[in-house]
C-alpha cells in the first residue's frame, strides 16, 4: 500500500513548488488514476513515490509510506534495494526509457541481476516468464533483440516486464500509453487491468487523459498546479464533477463510445 501524506516538492530552480501538499493513497490491489494537465506535477509525484527524486535539487517534505516504510527518511542503501523489489516504474516514452545499446532481455532482468544472486539461467527464465505475462510474442527473439528492433507497443511491454520480474507490489505508470497509437493503447490498458486482477499488483496510473483512466481505475485523483483538486470514485467523478477544472478535463476529452478502444484525445498531441 502506498500512502502519500502532505507531500511537498520544491525544486530550487523554480519559484513555486512542483508538488504542493498532496495526500494520495493507493490501497493494495487497486488501480488509482492520477490525471491533470501538463506541468501539474504528476511525474514529480510518481518520481517521488519511486524514491527517485534527486534530493540535491529540491526540498522535500511530507511522507511517502510504502507498506509502512517512509521512503523520504530511508537510508540510501535500503531505498535502492526497495526500488528494485517493491516498486516498478513505467515511463511515457518506452524508446527513451530503454538503453539503446543493451538487449531487451538483459535490461528486463536488470533488477534481478542487481538485487538477487540468481544464476543467469534462472534470471533468463524469470524474464521469459515475465515476457509471456505481458503477452509478448516470441519471447526468445525479444530477449535477444535490441530496443530499436521492437515496435513501440513491444518496447512498452518490455518495460512493464522489466518491472514485473521482481514481483513488485506497486507499479507506477507514468503515462504508459501516451506515446502509443490507439489500438496499442487499448491493448496495454487491457493488459494492465489483467495484471492487476490476476496478480493483485496495485497501480498508480498517470495520464492527462481522463478517458484512459476511466475504464481502468476505480478511484481517480485530479491534479492542478501541484495540488489535488478533486478525488473520488471514477464513475461518480465523471457523472458529477465538482470542480470546474475537472469539468474542463472531461469536456476536453472526446466522448468514448468504443469502450477502452475509444481512448484518445486532443491533449495527446500537445504534451511534452
Amino acid at each position: 500500500m502506498l500512502e502519500i501524506r502532505n507531500l511537498r516538492v520544491h525544486f530550487y530552480t523554480r519559484p513555486v513548488p512542483a508538488v504542493d501538499g498532496i495526500d494520495l493513497t493507493v490501497p493494495d490491489g487497486e488501480i488509482v488514476g492520477l490525471v491533470g494537465e501538463s506541468g501539474s506535477g504528476k511525474t514529480v509525484t510518481a518520481t517521488a513515490a519511486a524514491g527517485l527524486l534527486d534530493r540535491g535539487a529540491c526540498e522535500v517534505s511530507g511522507r511517502i509510506l510504502l507498506n509502512g516504510e517512509d521512503l523520504l527518511t530511508l537510508p540510501a542503501r535500503r531505498l535502492t534495494a526497495l526500488r528494485g523489489r517493491a516498486v516498478g516504474m513505467v515511463f511515457q516514452d518506452p524508446a527513451a526509457a530503454l538503453d539503446p545499446l543493451m538487449r531487451a532481455g538483459k535490461q528486463a532482468g536488470e533488477a534481478l541481476a542487481l538485487h538477487t544472486k540468481l544464476p543467469k539461467s534462472e534470471r533468463k527464465a524469470a524474464v521469459l516468464q515475465a515476457f509471456r505475462d505481458v503477452e509478448l510474442p516470441d519471447p526468445e527473439r525479444v530477449y535477444n533483440a535490441y530496443p530499436r528492433e521492437l515496435s513501440g507497443g513491444m518496447q512498452q511491454r518490455v518495460m512493464i516486464a522489466s518491472a514485473l520480474v521482481s514481483s513488485p507490489s506497486l507499479l507506477l505508470l507514468d503515462e504508459p500509453t501516451t506515446a502509443l497509437d490507439v489500438t496499442v493503447q487499448a491493448e496495454i490498458l487491457a493488459l494492465l487491468k489483467r495484471l492487476n486482477a490476476e496478480k493483485g499488483i496495485s497501480m498508480l496510473l498517470i495520464s492527462h487523459d481522463l478517458n484512459v483512466v476511466r475504464h481502468v481505475a476505480k478511484r481517480v485523483a485530479v491534479m492542478q498546479g501541484g495540488k489535488l483538486v478533486e478525488t473520488g470514485e471514477t464513475e461518480a467523478l465523471f457523472r458529477a464533477p465538482r470542480q470546474d477544472y475537472t469539468k474542463r478535463l472531461i469536456a476536453a476529452a472526446p466522448k468514448p463510445f468504443g469502450g477502452a478502444a475509444g481512448v484518445r484525445m486532443r491533449g495527446d498531441a500537445g504534451s511534452e
Binding site: L98, D99, M159
Partner: protein
C-alpha cells in the same frame, strides 16, 4: 563486405586527389626547385641543366604520372635538395614523430577521459567556475605559445631536458623519449582539456536520459547506471572525437616539432616546402593523409562494434 570495398575505394580516391592537389600547388606557387637550390647567382644555363636532370623540363602531367607510377610501386622518388631517395630521408624521421604522437595520444586518453568522467559527477558551483576558467584558458592558448612556455619552463628553468639537443632515438632511447615527452605534453595539454570537456558533456547528457532513470527505478545506484548504461552510450561520440584528435595531432605536431627542435616528419615537411622539394612533400602529405583517413575509418569500425545496428550519430529516440 560491399561497404568495405566502397570505403577502400573512396580512401584511395581521396589519396589520389590529395597527391594531385599537392603537385598542382607546386605548379602554381612561385619558385622553381632548381633555381632555389642553385641560388640567385646561378647562370641560366646551369639552372636549365639542373632542371633537365631533375626532369623539371617535362610537362606537368608527364611528371605527375611518372611520380604516381613510382609511388604506387613503392618508389617514392629522389629528393631534389638531398639528392637521396625520399625513403632514406624520411625513414629516420618517422620514429621521433610517431613517438611524440603516440605519447601525446596516450596522455590525452589517460588524463582526459578520467578528468571528464570525474567532472561529470562533480557539480559544486565553485568547482564549476574554476573548471570553466581553466578549460577556456588552456584551449585559448595556441600550441606554439604553450610549446615555447613548456620548453622554457622544463628545459631552461628546470633542466629536465636540453632544448635543441635531441639524443638519437637508436643510441639513447630513454633520453630521446624523455625529450619527446615534453613536446608531447605541449601537444596534449589543450586536447586533454577538450577531451575532458567533450566526455563530460556527453556523459551529463546521457545521465539526463530516461533510460538512466529507468535503470535506477530497477534498483541501480547512479554509479551503477553510469557503468552499466551511460559509458557505453557515451562511447561512440568519444571514439569519434579521439579519432578526430588523432588527425589533428598531425597538424599541430608539425608546429610543436618546430618549437622543440624535434627532427621529425613535421620539420622535414616544412623544410622541404621551403626547398620546393616536391617528391618529399608529396610523399609526406600522402602519408599523413593516409594516417588521418585510417584513424577515421578505425573509429567507424570501433563504433560499429559497440553498436552493430548503428543508430547513426546521436539520433536516438
Amino acid at each position: 563486405m560491399k561497404t568495405l570495398l566502397k570505403k577502400t575505394a573512396s580512401l584511395l580516391l581521396t589519396l589520389l586527389l590529395t597527391s594531385f592537389l599537392v603537385f598542382l600547388a607546386f605548379e602554381l606557387i612561385d619558385g622553381d626547385p632548381a633555381r632555389t637550390m642553385l641560388g640567385d647567382q646561378a647562370t641560366e644555363q646551369r639552372v636549365q641543366a639542373l632542371q633537365a636532370e631533375l626532369g623539371l623540363d617535362k610537362p606537368f602531367f608527364t611528371r605527375y604520372i611518372g611520380w604516381l607510377g613510382g609511388f604506387v610501386t613503392g618508389d617514392f622518388g629522389v629528393s631534389f635538395s638531398y639528392r637521396q631517395p625520399v625513403w632514406e630521408i624520411l625513414a629516420p624521421k618517422l620514429g621521433p614523430t610517431a613517438v611524440t604522437g603516440a605519447l601525446a595520444f596516450l596522455l590525452i586518453t589517460v588524463c582526459g577521459l578520467p578528468l571528464g568522467l570525474f567532472s561529470a559527477h562533480w557539480k559544486h558551483p565553485a568547482v564549476l567556475a574554476v573548471r570553466t576558467f581553466f578549460e577556456q584558458l588552456i584551449m585559448a592558448v595556441p600550441p606554439f605559445v604553450l610549446g615555447i612556455g613548456l620548453s622554457w619552463g622544463f628545459g631552461v628553468v628546470l633542466h629536465a631536458f636540453t632544448p635543441g639537443d635531441f639524443p638519437a632515438l637508436s643510441e639513447d632511447p630513454l633520453g630521446a623519449v624523455r625529450y619527446l615527452f615534453f613536446a608531447a605534453l605541449a601537444l596534449a595539454v589543450p586536447r586533454i582539456a577538450m577531451t575532458a570537456r567533450m566526455l563530460r558533456m556527453s556523459v551529463s547528457g546521457e545521465l539526463g536520459r530516461d533510460y538512466v532513470r529507468a535503470s535506477m527505478a530497477r534498483g541501480a545506484t547512479r554509479r551503477q547506471a553510469l557503468t552499466r548504461h551511460v559509458l557505453k552510450n557515451a562511447l561512440p561520440a568519444t571514439v569519434a572525437f579521439l579519432a578526430q584528435t588523432m588527425a589533428e595531432l598531425v597538424g599541430s605536431g608539425v608546429i610543436v616539432e618546430q618549437v622543440f627542435g624535434v627532427p621529425g616528419v613535421g620539420r622535414l615537411l616544412v623544410a622541404s616546402i621551403g626547398n620546393r622539394d616536391y617528391p618529399v612533400v608529396c610523399t609526406v602529405i600522402v602519408m599523413l593523409a593516409f594516417f588521418v583517413l585510417v584513424s577515421g575509418a578505425l573509429a567507424d569500425a570501433v563504433n560499429l562494434m559497440i553498436d552493430p545496428g548503428r543508430r547513426g550519430g546521436k539520433s536516438h529516440a
